[in-house]
C-alpha cells in the first residue's frame, strides 16, 4: 500500500506487534510481559527472543554466547577495534567509540557483511543438494557469482584459531550434529582438495551452527551484530589511559603518495593549470608552500 492516504492513516501513532511501554504500568515484548516473563532470564535469552520471537534452550543460548565470546579479541590493530581505540586516543566518548566500531564491523570482507551471504549460501546449498545438485556445482556457481564464498578464506591468515574451540564447545553442548555444520565441513574438505586456497573461517562455522538452530539469515545477521563488542572496550580503555594521541602516531613521511605531481591552483579556471602563475608565492619558494 502506498500514497498519501496510506501515510495519513499513520500520522501521530505507532502501531506495533512488538510491544512497548505503558509508563508507570508495565512493558511488553512480543506479547510477553518483560518483567515477569524474563525475570530470571540471561541477556542472550531476551536478545534472541527479541530477534526471533522464540525462546531457545539453555544449551543453545550457551552456544550462541560462546560464538560471541570466542571472537572477543582486545586487539586494537583489528580494524573495527582500532576505531574504538582511536576514539579513546582522540579522547572521544566511550559510547561513540563503541557505536562506531560496531558499525564498522559490518564489513564486506569480515564481520556483519559476511553473515547473510554465509548462512544464505549454506541454506541454499543444502536445499540444492537435497534436490539432487552436486556440492561441486554449488561451490562453482557461488564462486562464479560472488567471486568468493562467504565464510571461507580469511583476510590476514588462512588458519582460524577460533574454530577448534567453537567446535569443541558445540560438541560439549550436543549441538555439533546438525546438517548445516556438516555441510560447512564438506565444503571445507572440497575446497581443501581443490586448488583454491580457501579454508573455512569462523563465520562459516558460526553460520552452520546457528542455521542448525533454525535461524534465518536476517536473524543471524542481527544476532551477530555485537559479536566483537567485548573486545572493543579494552581497546578503548587502554587508549584512553595512554597519553592523548599516543595510538598509532603516523609521521608525515609515512603517507606513501602516488598521485598527481605538484601543480598550481588557478583562482578562476576551467581546468587546473600546470603552468605556475608568476605571482604565486609558491613559485618563488620553488614549489614549496607560500606563507
Amino acid at each position: 500500500m502506498r500514497g498519501p492516504e496510506f501515510l495519513r492513516q499513520r500520522v501521530g501513532k505507532l502501531k506495533s506487534r512488538m510491544g512497548g511501554v505503558v509508563p508507570g504500568s508495565h512493558a511488553t515484548i512480543r506479547g510477553l510481559d518483560l518483567h515477569s516473563a524474563f525475570k530470571d532470564a540471561e541477556w542472550m535469552d531476551i536478545y534472541m527472543f527479541a530477534i526471533t520471537g522464540r525462546r531457545f534452550s539453555s544449551a543453545e543460548l550457551a552456544l550462541l554466547q560462546s560464538i560471541w565470546t570466542y571472537t572477543s579479541y582486545p586487539d586494537a590493530r583489528i580494524w573495527n577495534n582500532r576505531v574504538a581505540a582511536l576514539a579513546g586516543s582522540a579522547r572521544s566518548s566511550g559510547a561513540l567509540a563503541v557505536s562506531a566500531a560496531l558499525a564498522i564491523s559490518e564489513a564486506t570482507i569480515y564481520g556483519g557483511g559476511t553473515y547473510v551471504p554465509a548462512i544464505t549460501f549454506l541454506q541454499e546449498t543444502r536445499r540444492k543438494i537435497l534436490a539432487g545438485h552436486s556440492l561441486s556445482d554449488c561451490v562453482r556457481e557461488e564462486l562464479k557469482v560472488r567471486r568468493g564464498i562467504a565464510g571461507y578464506g580469511r583476510p590476514l591468515t588462512s588458519k582460524d584459531e577460533r574454530i577448534i574451540p567453537l567446535l569443541d564447545r558445540a560438541g560439549e553442548l550436543g549441538l555439533d550434529r546438525g546438517p548445516h555444520l556438516a555441510l560447512v565441513l564438506q565444503i571445507d574438505h572440497y575446497l581443501a582438495q581443490s586448488r583454491l586456497r580457501m579454508r573455512k573461517n569462523f563465520a562459516a562455522v558460526a553460520a552452520g551452527l546457528v542455521a542448525d538452530l533454525g535461524v534465518s539469515p536476517r536473524e543471524f545477521y542481527l544476532y551477530g551484530f555485537p559479536t566483537f563488542l567485548a573486545g572493543m572496550l579494552p581497546c578503548y580503555l587502554e587508549a584512553t589511559d595512554e597519553p592523548e594521541g599516543a595510538l598509532f602516531p603516523i609521521p608525515c613521511e609515512d603517507i606513501a603518495y602516488a598521485g598527481r605531481e605538484k601543480r598550481f591552483w588557478a583562482k578562476k579556471h576551467n581546468h587546473a593549470q600546470m603552468d605556475p602563475a608568476p605571482e604565486s608565492p609558491a613559485v618563488n619558494a620553488g614549489m614549496t608552500s607560500g606563507e
Binding site: 496510506f6 603518495y257 614549496t288
Partner: protein, 273 residues
C-alpha cells in the same frame, strides 16, 4: 622521497604531506592531488571545488562547480520530516552528543528510501541506461536482482522515484530545472525532457533522489562516490535541527501514541489506559 619498504605506510593517491623540520608528526605543507592546500588553494578555492577535487581528483570546470554548489544547496537540509533529520533530532532532543546525532542521520539516511544506498543504485542505473529510453523502460519494469545475498533490505521501489508520491513536487521540478540549466552533462537535460516517460515507466513520480543521481552522473561521480557525498551533503540540516530540538527541549518534541497490535486484550486495554 625514498620509502623504507619494510615499514607499514598509508598509501594514497590523494594526499601528500611534508613535515616541519623539527617535528615529523606536524605537517608543514599538505598537497591534495598535487595542489598546495594551505599555501595556494586557501583563499582561492571554493568549498565545492575542494569537494570535487577530493572526490574526482581534478578541479571542476566552472560549470561543474556551479552544478555541484547548487546541488549542495538543494541537499543541505532535507527538513525535519525527513527520517534522517528526524533521527538526528532524536539525538538533539535528549541531549545526545553532536556526533551521535550526525551518526544517527547518516545511518538512517543511508538506506533505500531517499538515502545513500538509493543514490548508489540510481547512479548505477544512469551508468547502465544512459539516455536510452528503452533501456530505462526495461530497467524500470524489470530490475535485475542484486548479485548475491546481502544485509541490505531489497529495494521496494525504483531508485529515484517517490513510492508515496502523487506527482513530482514543485521542489523536485524546480531543482531539476535549475540543475539541468547548469549542467555540463547530458543526463540532467535528458531527464528534464523525458521525465513524463520515465514516470510512466516507473509508475511513480520522480523524487529529489532521482534528480540528485542524474546530477552526480553528469559530474562523473562513480556510484560509491555519489553515495558518500550524498551522505555528507545532507548533514548540515540534520545538525541544525538536532541543535534546535535541544533548545526546545523534549517536552516539545513528539512522543506519539502507541497502539499494540496483539492477541492479548489486556495489553490493548492497558495501553489505552
Amino acid at each position: 622521497m625514498s620509502q623504507d619498504t619494510t615499514k607499514e605506510v598509508i598509501h594514497s593517491r590523494i594526499w601528500q604531506e611534508e613535515a616541519e623540520a623539527d617535528n615529523p608528526f606536524a605537517a608543514r605543507v599538505a598537497w591534495c592531488h598535487g595542489f598546495d592546500v594551505y599555501g595556494d588553494m586557501l583563499g582561492k578555492a571554493r568549498w565545492v571545488e575542494m569537494l570535487h577535487l577530493l572526490f574526482r581528483g581534478e578541479a571542476p570546470s566552472e560549470e561543474a562547480a556551479q552544478l555541484l554548489e547548487s546541488l549542495a544547496v538543494a541537499l543541505a537540509n532535507p527538513g525535519p520530516r525527513d527520517p534522517s533529520v528526524h533521527a538526528a533530532m532524536c539525538g538533539g532532543t535528549g541531549g545526545s552528543p553532536a556526533a551521535a546525532a550526525l551518526m544517527a542521520a547518516l545511518a538512517v539516511g543511508a538506506g533505500n528510501l531517499f538515502g545513500g544506498h538509493e543514490i548508489l543504485l540510481a547512479v548505477q542505473d544512469w551508468s547502465d541506461c544512459g539516455t536510452d529510453i528503452e533501456a530505462w523502460r526495461n530497467r524500470l519494469s524489470n530490475r535485475p536482482p542484486a548479485v548475491g545475498a546481502s544485509a541490505w533490505p531489497k529495494p521496494e521501489h525504483p531508485p529515484g522515484f517517490d513510492p508515496h508520491g502523487v506527482q513530482a513536487t514543485l521542489i523536485v521540478r524546480q531543482t531539476l530545472t535549475c540543475l539541468a540549466g547548469l549542467s555540463p552533462g547530458a543526463h540532467l537535460p535528458w531527464l528534464k525532457e523525458m521525465r513524463p516517460d520515465l514516470e510512466t515507466a516507473a509508475g511513480l513520480p520522480l523524487s529529489l533522489t532521482g534528480v540528485t543521481a542524474a546530477a552526480f552522473a553528469d559530474l562523473g561521480f562513480a556510484p560509491e562516490q555519489a553515495e558518500t557525498l550524498h551522505l555528507i551533503l545532507r548533514l548540515p540540516g540534520a545538525a541544525v535541527h538536532a541543535l534546535e530540538q535541544w533548545e526546545f527541549g523534549h517536552k516539545k518534541f513528539p512522543f506519539y501514541q502507541i497502539e499494540f497490535e496483539t492477541d492479548h486484550p489486556d495489553q490493548s486495554q492497558e495501553a489505552e489506559a
